[in-house]
Amino acid sequence: MANKRKTFLLIWVLTAVGCLFVFLKYASPKIFQVLMAKDHPMPMPSTLMMWYMIMGVLAGLVYATTSNQKFADFLSFLLPGSGSLIKSFLQKMLFVGFPVLVGWFVYTWAIPGAASPVELRIQHPTLPQDFEKLENPLRQKDEETQRKSIEEGKILFQTYCRPCHGSKADGNGPFANSFRLRPINFQDPGTIATVVDNYLFWRIKEGAPGLPSEATPWDSAMPSWKDDLKDDEIWMIIMGEYDTAGVMPRQREKLE
């Protein structure tokens, strides 16, 4: 029986390479989606894909040439002989398949490809100097006032921020789908938990139009609230926002 397996060595190697391709193309985006906890598949970059495939083919060839016997088996598949029906079928398929594959490669390279948009943005522009020195006046007040401010802020957050950022501050408000740069999920520990109150004050007050030129408003839909909300209200919203999202602002380093 061992002899039979050897007859089809070439086919097994080709099948393995084929499986590798299918795995990289269809299975790995799903696997990485689960591993990275994303809500969309993570497709393999095409250059990486090419390198993996080259390595896969080389590995197959290395395996096939580990001994003279193996190499002879490997090539002998292409020889005519007392083949079974399945062998002659696979042989013919290979003979036809190779030129078709070459033709297909040339076709995909030659047709005009549809460009797909590249979109990058500076995630975390630097806080402008004007806002650096500000202090949230409400954080200095007594506990009772602070508690009230948080509650006031939550009401304002639910009224004006909720349509995009969501009732839970998770970036899933009813309008969220409509903005291609999705509203930020404040529960994500990489967002408002990494900045101080001032930063949020700047972002709420100036919005996307107030972003510096290195992070110009290409797609951010964050409105500027400076004409509609008083400074106190913005500070309250910030406190309410942290509370709703269940995260804390970054603690300032103590200056000597």
Partner: protein
């Protein structure tokens, strides 16, 4: 004889495999993903309903729910002012998604499902992010707002057993849709534009909107066939949507459900609107033109304009569909969106606008998506429904009047200018049919006004954004539904030479292969066992 048969079999097999291969290659396409809230059916074991649980529920309610539903459960929380539909008033029995008969209160399980799932098209989020215990506790507390929960202890639940859909069933459902007068509210094509809905909405100013049955993602009680059947059977309390439990037999309700399910479509969303080359010399000028079937439709979700005051918190148009075609000299866009009325007033009129930057951006930097900014001008193509009546009149735009088109430039909300008449080169027509506006906008690819007009180039990604106004929702100016930047791309035609290259490649591949095999056969590898 047998040998010839074998050869034939192998040949056919190969051709089949080849066809499958090419077919599979064509199937790969990109999709942009949205997070639509869907109705989830699973319910875990219920918690014991104790006074302690109710007290705990009160805490949850006053931490998470009251901002919208109000501290007394009247649906009048402080945040409700930026919402439409309004939050549920728990003191009344206006529960919609139930498994119980019309007029009854929902079961605890119904409430659990809706709290867990959220409701798409409303502000209700999905609360599967809090523990099951908390969800049960808050349900027990919410029930205390309405005495009926105490009275209707044994709720009569409508049973739902799935029945498979057949073309006959869908057809019968369509007949019943007419016979039972579903169209009076939902419209003949199910777009929520029936005469009763329009009357309630515009003349009576009632908050009822019949569901647009073509938008499958917006079904409040879920869009599976069982969900639709259940909604038809139970109806929605305190809305014009009644129960058809007695009016229609069980079988008939399944037929109607299958018909409704056949209307419901998913959103065909994509980031790039691919503009196909129209080989014919003439581009379609009417929305009814057959050539539009060649173009791929892209649907874009819209949000209220909330960037600048006056902000629009309650838009009525939540999606727009775009198709586009081009030829040697022109480009044409077909814009379609569902609108339950065609009523126009002098100021409040149905309208649509396409927005392009004035230049194709070289880098990633684009003008601000909301009407541009001081550093980036945008070119607006704006279509407005017909109007010729006097002040105060409300009329439907007649079908033979195609509306008016103007071209504008903007550098932000506050600096919008109408282009001079010699630069007005967009033409367009709009027609309202069965609850849907269909507007065609057309322009030459290049114009003389290179400063104010987008100059289209083949193969480039050209940013585009959309805005829609619904006159009957008092949309005007900044009060509109908007999208952020998407793209249009004029597809390069496949040059004929490609096929010559492919043929040469195949011949060369085959020759190399034959040479290799011939060589292999002349000098076969030595097998060690021989």
């Amino acid at each position: 004889m047998i040998k010839a048969f074998k050869k034939g079999l192998i040949g056919f097999g190969l051709i089949g495999v080849g066809i499958c291969f090419f077919w599979l290659c064509g199937e790969v396409s990109a999709q942009s993903s949205h997070l639509f809230r869907t109705y989830k059916h699973e319910v875990p074991q219920k918690l014991q309903e104790t006074p302690e649980a109710v007290a705990e529920g009160k805490k949850v309610y006053e931490k998470r729910c009251w901002y919208c539903h109000g501290i007394e459960g009247k649906g009048d929380g402080p945040a409700s002012k930026t919402m439409f539909p309004k939050p549920r008033n728990f003191t009344r029995n206006e529960y919609k998604v139930r498994s119980t008969t019309l007029g009854s209160v929902p079961t605890d399980e119904d409430l659990f499902r809706i709290i867990t799932s959220g409701i798409e098209g409303t502000a209700m989020p999905f609360w599967n992010t809090i523990s099951e215990t908390e969800r049960w506790q808050v349900i027990f507390y919410v029930k205390t707002f309405n005495e009926q929960f105490m009275k209707d202890v044994t709720a009569k639940v409508v049973s739902v057993v799935s029945i498979a859909s057949t073309p006959e069933s869908v057809k019968r459902g369509q007949e019943l849709f007419k016979e039972t007068k579903c169209y009076e509210c939902h419209g003949e094509d199910g777009r929520g534009n029936g005469p009763l809905t329009v009357a309630l909405q515009t003349e009576w100013n009632m908050p009822y909107r019949a569901r647009d049955l073509t938008k499958g993602w917006n079904f409040k009680g879920g869009n599976t066939i069982e969900d639709i059947y259940r909604t038809i059977s139970t109806g929605f309390n305190e809305t014009p949507m009644g129960s058809y439990l007695e009016k229609l037999s069980d079988e008939d309700r399944w037929h109607v459900a299958h018909f409704v399910k056949s209307l419901a479509k998913d959103m065909a969303s994509d980031v790039v609107v691919k503009v196909k080359l129209c080989e014919n010399d003439q581009l379609p000028t009417e929305s009814s033109d057959e050539n539009w079937s060649k173009a791929t439709a892209v649907e874009v979700p819209l949000a209220g304009q909330i960037i600048a005051t006056p902000r629009h918190w309650a838009p009525s148009i939540d999606a727009i569909m775009i198709k586009a075609l081009y030829n040697k000299s022109e480009i044409a866009f077909l814009l379609e969106w569902d609108d339950s009325t065609n009523k126009q007033e002098e100021i409040f009129r149905d309208a649509v606008s396409l927005q392009f930057p004035t230049k194709i951006p070289e880098s990633l930097k684009k003008p601000y998506f909301a009407m541009g900014d001081s550093g980036g001008t945008v070119n607006l193509w704006s279509w407005k429904a017909y109007w010729h009546e006097g002040f105060g009149a409300v009329v439907e735009a007649p079908e033979n009047e195609s509306g008016s088109v103007i071209e504008m430039n903007a550098k932000g909300f506050k600096s919008v200018t109408i282009q001079p008449s010699e630069s007005q080169n967009v033409t367009g027509t709009g027609i309202y049919q069965n609850g849907r506006w269909k507007v065609v906008l057309k322009r030459t690819l290049k114009t003389e006004d290179a400063k104010g007009d987008m100059q289209f180039e083949i193969g480039k990604l050209i940013p585009v954004a959309f805005a829609v106004w619904d006159g009957s929702n008092s949309d005007v100016g900044g009060q509109k539904s908007v999208s952020s930047w998407y793209y249009v791309s004029l597809e390069k035609p496949v040059p004929k030479t490609v096929f010559a290259y492919v043929l040469i490649a195949i011949i060369m591949g085959a020759s190399v292969e034959m040479w290799f095999i011939a060589r292999l056969r002349r000098f076969p590898p030595k097998l060690e066992e021989e």
